[in-house]
Every structure is written in structure tokens, then in C-alpha cells.
Subunit: 257 residues, 4 copies
């Protein structure tokens, strides 16, 4: 490696013998016992001072995303844990590696579309344009539709209700609803705004940048995986999952000559 | 794979078209907007109904562990992210893989010792025995001492204060203090109860099993890493870290003939 | 972080504008086109000059370990890949996280026992002692037994044949056979020396330290996982695996009131 | 999860009590002791029968990519290992998570461009078009340029020589050279074809699909990381790397009031 002079710095934290300084606050005097975990997440990630509405919206998102049954990510974490029980952290890491573009990533894709609608002079026209583009390209609109939660994702109205209750429903929430109407019209049937679409909207309305939204999914899902692994500690499921996988994907190659 | 009949089940979650059931509660009716994130963690991982004292203690632990500057884990996550920015989740996973026996794991080691003290008929004698065993084996006592936080880890009294304030200081907290006295006497100088020792005690006093304590470190540190990666998105530090690593670990092998 | 002066160095590699030096050899002049991959692995990891017998033994071990069907590790990698196809590397990483104490780790456990047998004045007596200890503790002897490969793991005689053919069968191979006789006598029925036991022996006989043996499993399994993910690229199995996992581990918790 | 009937199968492997079948060959009769590791990789990943030229080209690529000093990936693996020495596999996984779009991924980007050149009726014109497009977009051409290896990456001519020597230099190698001329002309100075560009060409000429090329980088780098961790076992560098990282990225945030 070589080249280009650079002198980056960090504005996050530094330690002293008698304290840890986090974005200018004293961990021991200002944070432990003063901030709840969600407030601390907002402080650590975004440098936000505690605010009841922000915290309520983020709490609702983190609660909504934590658990969704035996997701591919939960199954991967359980398999890795029972193969390597010496390292709980590696099993959580393996599960989180699956919180990617197909699941959590749709949040970012939806956020990018909402940004277009919010920025457009005519929101309804922009929403129609987006729906038409995706239809023409035969691509699903990120944040819409769900294989199980039909006709409507039940998490979405709850997330919107929390945002409204705390006065945090803004232009992104309006934009996702506008987009929903356009999508339904374009496809000719109702597609639900799913939880990642709803979260893209409500996090957008409290000013969370799109590029770090996936981080909130990771924090929430991390806790979900810890729950699965605690159950795995009491009752290993690896044999049952392994057998099921072998049966689900049988060998169809040739036999040796 | 083969053998042993088994019919394991999960008691965590299942999905329905109109809801997600988590340990018997309705995600949409009972949890989103009702539980804070910390309460939800306690529900997901331990099946605990919300309780103000439990929540306060866990909040304090999660706040205390989130951030400690450029830890090896944070550096690893930053290096991986700037090498593979397509996958924020993989960088968080890489960082979490380092939350292992040397750092978070000392929590479990300390919890095991506290369990011995709590179970002993004579706590002071058991604490002395533990201190003597470690001295004889020249092994550090997990949960004691800190390279930076000298003479005392400033997080420890804050964690104890939160536990006391909420009436959750119990036998594990007493045990870690007993053990602290025994350790100081055995080594002949003061060694601080560090944050992982303090957390082992206060989580123990609210009934968190030792084998899943590391999970709480992972949840907290996950959020810490997301903060580091959000900073890395704005200002990549990979070149500076890379150059520094090369300078810190120079090549000392032979030259080609 | 602080303390203790240290000036560590690396003896592995350094780069120059016109070359990369690896353990004192020129990558461009001495290695590319001159060393096969297995020879390069031996050079990189152990600093060994190419040797036909070493290479044959390591080739046999790497070939033997690469693939074993839909292992938990392969299933985890496939699930993560189809959840996050933007990052092939993260899916491989997730799969490798499962190459741990339960599977590959038994190699190290067996190697430790073989070291005892090799070092003992009376190998047969030491082997009996080890078998008796494990029987008394009701612990399986690492490197022995296999759920599918009964009565004998067919990879073991092939690995031993390669070692013998190249004059590399030594005291570790003799030790594992001695231990096999003792184990059979102690349990009162035949338990096969499994592939990890055989590999512990043959790698031990070419001088691979026990603490890095798991690394050879990782290199081999890494290639195995790449094969699974290439198949997953052509034909995603995530839905089939997901459904199978849900069926294998049904929800048995309460319903919401 | 729900929906769409599917009955996927695998053509990779299945186990029997007395054998493991891998793509129709018997592991014990046809592979162990018969195939070298590189041949086995080609069999596992691509279903290729052993061929001296293929093997030589892949050996050269795997040897060329294994090691490049203290890369971000190697540093991450070392930091994770010394933080969690209970899990060598997790440290290797963390390092591999960094073998992504910035480094190994440029191979795929270059392969996509080579496919365009190869498919074009006029290769030189297509190469010029590609160079012009990247110049206009101010994007680097994947596979070209290197911060250290200037003016030329010394690995490239060696890789090309191996391909030529075994009669495997074909249209992709010609295409990357054509593209190199076009890039130099467009930027007005010489930019080297770097190792990932060269590997994209030579793997392309033996028919490795672009989408799995990154897998070869992972296999090779996996071995490189095992070497770093074996050195880390003997001489931990975590303190030196940690201190260096803290110095390289100092805290520049505010102080507590």
C-alpha cells in the first residue's frame, strides 16, 4: 500500500484512565444510567441528543425487525453455533452476514425511491414514474409486497401509528403512501407496503440517512439471533436442521462408474 | 449425517399472514409501540415480562459496553468495510467475530467464579480460595484489572449504582466485591473490578444465565460498530490504518537470493 | 489500550514496486509458475521448501476434507449467499465460521492425544490410559467414530496409504492405530478412526503443529463452499431450505391471548 | 416464508457409509491420492476433469493471490484472532469478509469488460469505447493500475507466461492487452494491467465464469490468512496494531463540558 497523504480522525470516542469520552459526553457521568440503550444508539450512530419522538420511532423499528421466525439468517446462526459452540460471537456474525440486499437491503432501495418522490415538484407524478419504470423492467419495487403477509403487512400500520402519535410522520411517510397508490395502479392489484418499506419511511422522517439504515436492521437482528442461540444452547436443533436440508436438496448427480 | 430420533421445536416465533407471534405475544398488538428495544431484548432472549429494574440494569450494561474507542474489533470492521463496501453486514460481522474470549468472554469467566462464591457456605473463604488458585496458576482473575482504567474502572461504580438504585443489587454484586477484596489481598495491590466483572455481577443479580451474557456484549457492540462504519462511510480510514499496520509490523524475513 | 513495550515483526511478506517477497522468495521469480498451490500453502504457512512427500500428504488431506455433502457449514453458506448475493465472500465466511470444534476441531483434540502416545515410554500403556480416561468421563475420544461411515471411515485407509507410499508414515500414524486398538478394547466394540483422526496422524507425521491443523481444514473447506455457492448461483435453494427448516423446527410456544 | 413450488437438487455430493460421491466420482477410489488439491478444486467448483494446462493456470493464479503483506484483510484477521483465539475459523472468516469489491471484486469488473471486447466485431474499437466511457465517468478501469506496483505489476507477465507456456493464452488475454493499449492512450500515460486484471484474463481463457472468479481469490487468500494466524499464534501483534490504529486515527471530537 502507498500513496496520498491523509490525516483522518475519529469523532466517536477516546478513553482516559478515569472515563470514556463518546462524542463529547462522559460515558460514566452523562450516559450510563442516564441514556436508555435506544437513546445511546442514536447518540453513537448519529450524534443525536435524546428526543422522545426519535426514540419512540427507533424503538418501534428495532422491535419490529428483531424476529421473524426461522429466517435463513437464524437457521445459519444456529447451524454455525452447534458446529462451533466455542464461539457464540462467530455464530451471530454468520447470521448477520445474511442480513443483506435481499432482506434488509430493500430498505435502502425503498429509501432511494422515497428520496426521489420527496424531492420531486409533483410527488404523485414521480411516484407514477417510479411504478412504471419498475413495471417496464419487471423489477419488484423495493419495500412492497410480502410472501406471507397478505394482503397487508400488519407491521406497517403499527409503525405508521407510532410515527404519527409522536408527530414524526412527515414527507417520507406521505411519499411511501403515494408510491403505494401508484404501485397498486400500475400492477392492477394491491401490493402491501411491507415492514422494510415502512421503516425506510419512518426512519427517513426522523432524518436517518439511507446508507446507514441497514445498520439498524443489524442491531435489531443481532438481538434476535442471540435469542435463537440461547434456545439452541438448551436444545440443539442441528441434527434436525441438517437432516431436513439433506432431504430438501437431494443429490441428483451421477453415480461412480 | 444420521442417527438419534429428535423432534425439536422452537418457542420463539412463528409468522401468520396477519401477525408475527413472539413467545406468545402478538408483535403488532402487544410489542411494536408498547415495548422499548431493551424490553424487547429481554422478551426475545429470556422471555421476561417488562420490568423497570431489569430494564434499567440491562440499559446500563448495554450503554456501558457499546463503545471503547478504536478497539481491535472496531478496526477490523472498518478495514473490512472499506475493502468491501457492498456489504455493511459483513463488516459488522467481522467486527463482532472479535468480541470473544479475551474481551467479552471474561464476563463468563467472572460469572463462573461469582457462582462459586454465591453457592459457597462461606463466601469470604471461597473468594480467598479463588484468588489463591489464580495466583498459584499465575492466571489473571477474569473481571479484574484493566490496562487503561487505573486505579479503578470508572464504569463499575456507575453500574453498581444503577443496580442499587433499582433494588437489583444482590448476592452476585456482593460476591464480586468480596472477590475484589480477596484478589487485592492475594496480589498485594489493588486491582479494579473492571466493566466486564461488574456486568457479570449485575446481570447475574437479575438472573441472566452466564452462558448468554456474551450475547449482551454482542448486541451492544453491534451498535457501536454501526457507528464506526457510518463514520467510515463519510471518511474512509483504510489507507491510514493500513499504513500504520505496515509500520507497526515490519517485515523482518530474509531477502531473496 | 496501553502498556508493555513491544516491537513485533512479520517474517511472512513485504511488497516492493517490482516484486512481492514471501518468506525470502521472490513471488514473481521463484513462486508463480514454479510452485503448485499446495507447495505454496506449505511455504506460506510453514516455511517449507517443496518436498514431494509433504505435498502428496497435504494434497490427500485437502482433497479428503473438501466436501461432505450438505454439511451445516454448506447449508449456512448457501442461506447467507441467497440472502446477500452482493457478497460471495461473506457467505464463504459464514460457512467457514462453522468449521469449528465439533467438526474440524476434533483434529486438534486427536493430535493432542497422539502427542501423548508418541511421547510416552510405553505407547500401548499410554493409549490404554487415554481410552480409560475418556470412558470414565463418558467423553468420546476425538478422532474416533462417525455417524455415517460405519463400521469404518473409508477415507482413513486411503490417507494412510498415501502417507506410506511416500514414506511419511511415522510415529503419529502408529500412535493412532495403537489408540484405535485401545479404544476398541475399552468400549467393547469397534470404533473407526475417522478422517479427522487420520489427518491428525498424517499431518503430525510431516510435522504440522497441532494448533494450525484446523487451518488446513479451513483452506480445503473454503474451496468446497465455493463449489456450493457456484451451484447456488445457477439454482438458488434458499426457499427449499427455508421451508424445510421451518418444518423441522415448528413453533411450540403459546398463542397470544 | 411461503410460495412457489420448487424441487431443487444438488449435483455436488452425497455420502454413503462406505464412500463420499463427489460429482459422480468416488472420493476414496478416484480422488484421494489421485487428484492434487488444485485438480480437486477444479473438479469441485467447475466439474472439470484434470487437465495439465488448466491446473497450471489455476495454480499460478492461486499462488499469485495468496499473499500481499499486511493487507487490510490480514490485519483484520490478526486482530480478531488475538481477540478471540478460541476460534481460528472466525478470524479467517473475518479476514475473508474483506476480500470484496475493492480488491478481489475488480477481477469480476475486468472480466465483464473483457467479455465485451471478446464479443465485439472490432476488438480495438470496443476497447477504445470502454476506455473512453471510464474516462468520461472518471471511473478507474477495473484491472488496471496499482498503488505500489509501478510502472508495471510484476505478477502480470508471469501469469501471462504460464498461460502461454501451456497453450492457454486466448482471446481474453488478447482482449486485456488490447484494453491496456486503449487505457494508456485514453489517460495519456501508462497504467499497468494489474494482477486481478491478468487473472480475469487467464481464468477467462480457461473458461472460468466471471461470477465465480472471486471464489478463487477466496480460496487462495484463505491459505494466506492461515499463514498470518500461525505467525500470530507464535507472536501476537494485537497490541502493536491496536496502538498504531489509535495513533493513526486520533479522536478529534469535543471534550465533555
Amino acid at each position: 500500500m502507498s500513496s496520498a497523504p491523509e490525516a483522518p480522525t475519529t469523532r466517536i470516542a477516546t478513553e482516559r484512565p478515569d472515563d470514556v469520552i463518546i462524542r463529547g459526553k462522559s460515558l460514566c457521568r452523562d450516559l450510563i444510567g442516564k441514556f436508555g440503550f435506544t437513546e445511546m444508539i442514536l447518540w453513537q450512530v448519529l450524534g443525536r441528543e435524546p428526543d422522545k419522538g426519535d426514540t419512540a420511532v427507533v424503538d418501534a423499528c428495532l422491535v419490529a425487525l428483531m424476529e421473524h421466525g426461522l429466517t435463513p439468517s437464524a437457521v445459519a446462526a444456529r447451524l454455525v453455533y452447534s458446529s462451533a459452540p466455542e464461539a457464540l460471537q462467530a455464530a451471530v456474525a454468520a447470521g448477520l452476514a445474511g442480513v443483506g440486499s435481499v432482506f434488509a437491503g430493500s430498505m435502502e432501495g425503498c429509501a432511494a425511491l422515497l428520496a426521489r418522490v420527496v424531492a420531486a415538484p409533483d410527488a404523485a407524478a414521480e411516484a407514477k414514474r417510479i411504478a412504471a419504470e419498475h413495471k417496464a423492467a419487471r423489477r419488484p419495487v423495493p419495500g412492497f409486497g410480502h410472501p406471507t403477509h397478505k394482503p397487508d403487512d400488519p407491521r406497517t400500520p403499527r409503525l405508521f401509528a407510532v410515527a404519527r402519535e409522536h408527530g414524526r410522520a412527515g414527507r417520507h411517510l406521505a411519499a411511501v403512501e403515494e408510491l403505494g397508490r401508484a404501485v397498486d395502479a400500475a400492477v392492477g392489484r394491491h401490493l402491501t407496503i411491507n415492514a422494510t418499506g415502512a421503516i425506510a419511511a419512518v426512519l427517513g422522517d426522523i432524518g436517518v440517512p439511507a446508507e446507514i439504515m441497514r445498520g439498524f436492521a443489524l442491531i435489531s437482528r443481532c438481538a434476535g439471533l442471540v435469542g435463537h442461540l440461547h434456545e439452541e444452547q438448551a436444545q440443539p436443533s442441528i441434527r434436525a436442521l441438517w437432516r431436513a436440508a439433506e432431504a430438501a436438496l437431494p443429490y441428483a448427480g451421477p453415480s461412480p462408474k
